[in-house]
């Protein structure tokens, strides 16, 4: 029965990622500096790290943590697209953007998880 929940949470997480990535990427292409950086994936991954940090600080039972954290937020964020976009940037000789994409994701990702955890501990 828990697997029905995992299927639904994973599907919804992926659809949300697809929609937010598309919306951010369309806007960021025109307005932000560092043109060429994949801001859609960055936005999804940073927000997801914050939410997972937040959930981790709450005292959820095992199944709630599995559904909300592992299945939903895990599916919402993506490692593979981050790697693909970075590799394609370096292939295009945009080495500065490739390095920026890695550094920004790691630094902001850890920071967001920390902030989320802190916010969750206040509840």
């Amino acid at each position: 029965m828990i697997w029905v929940g995992v299927i639904l949470a994973g599907g919804v997480g992926a659809v949300l990622r697809f929609l937010l990535d598309g919306a951010v990427a369309r806007r960021a292409a025109k307005s932000l500096p560092f043109a060429g950086l994949p801001f859609g994936t960055l936005a999804v991954n940073i927000s997801g790290a914050a939410v997972l940090g937040f959930l981790g600080a709450l005292t959820l039972d095992r199944y709630a943590a599995l559904l909300a954290g592992t299945a939903f937020v895990g599916s919402y964020t993506t490692f593979s697209t981050w790697m693909l976009e970075t590799q394609r940037l370096s292939e295009e000789r945009q080495v500065r953007n490739a390095v920026a994409n890695i550094v920004a994701s790691v630094v902001l990702g850890i920071g967001a998880a920390l902030v989320g955890q802190w916010a969750g501990s206040l509840l």
Partner: protein, 156 residues
């Protein structure tokens, strides 16, 4: 006509490199595309969640489940993207299903970051740095190898 052609060509070349989605994802919203993302995401998530249950989270140990799905998923995405965008006719549903759905659902960034944060909080600094660096280096290598494999196979 002459003036829009270069733009169209450029857009097409960006699509082939995996930077741009196929134009169908603009408006009106294609619900079959969303359904493909949903199904693929559910499949990837079931595989990742199943694997995550095999090991208990421990900030002192290498997180093999997350590490494994991330590297395998990066390889698969490199393979699918290169094959679908550079070698096969453009399809509206294969990329959302296999790339955005399966590979996106199988791999996870948030879990990796929270695992790294726990390592830092428990003063396992070497493990945190090693885990982050190994994930990135092997993830990039996996995409590179998968892409090279598809491109080389297609030359023959």
């Amino acid at each position: 006509m002459g003036s829009i052609l270069p733009n169209k060509l450029r857009e097409h070349s960006l699509q082939r490199k995996g930077f741009r989605r196929v134009a169908s994802s603009a408006s009106p919203r294609d619900y079959r595309e969303l359904a493909a993302v949903f199904v693929g995401g559910a499949l990837g998530t079931v595989a990742r969640t199943g694997l995550s249950l095999l090991a208990t989270a421990d900030a002192a140990r290498w997180p093999w489940p997350t590490f494994t799905v991330n590297i395998v998923g990066a390889f698969m995405l490199g393979y699918f993207t290169t094959r679908l965008l550079e070698r096969l006719p453009l399809s509206s549903y294969r990329r959302p299903l296999l790339g955005t759905g399966v590979c996106g659902g199988l791999t996870t960034f948030s879990t990796m970051q929270v695992e790294t944060l726990k390592m830092i909080e428990h003063h396992h600094y070497g493990l945190a740095i090693g885990y982050t660096c190994a994930s990135i280096v092997l993830g990039l290598l996996a995409v590179h190898l998968a892409s090279a494999l598809v491109r080389r196979a297609a030359v023959r």
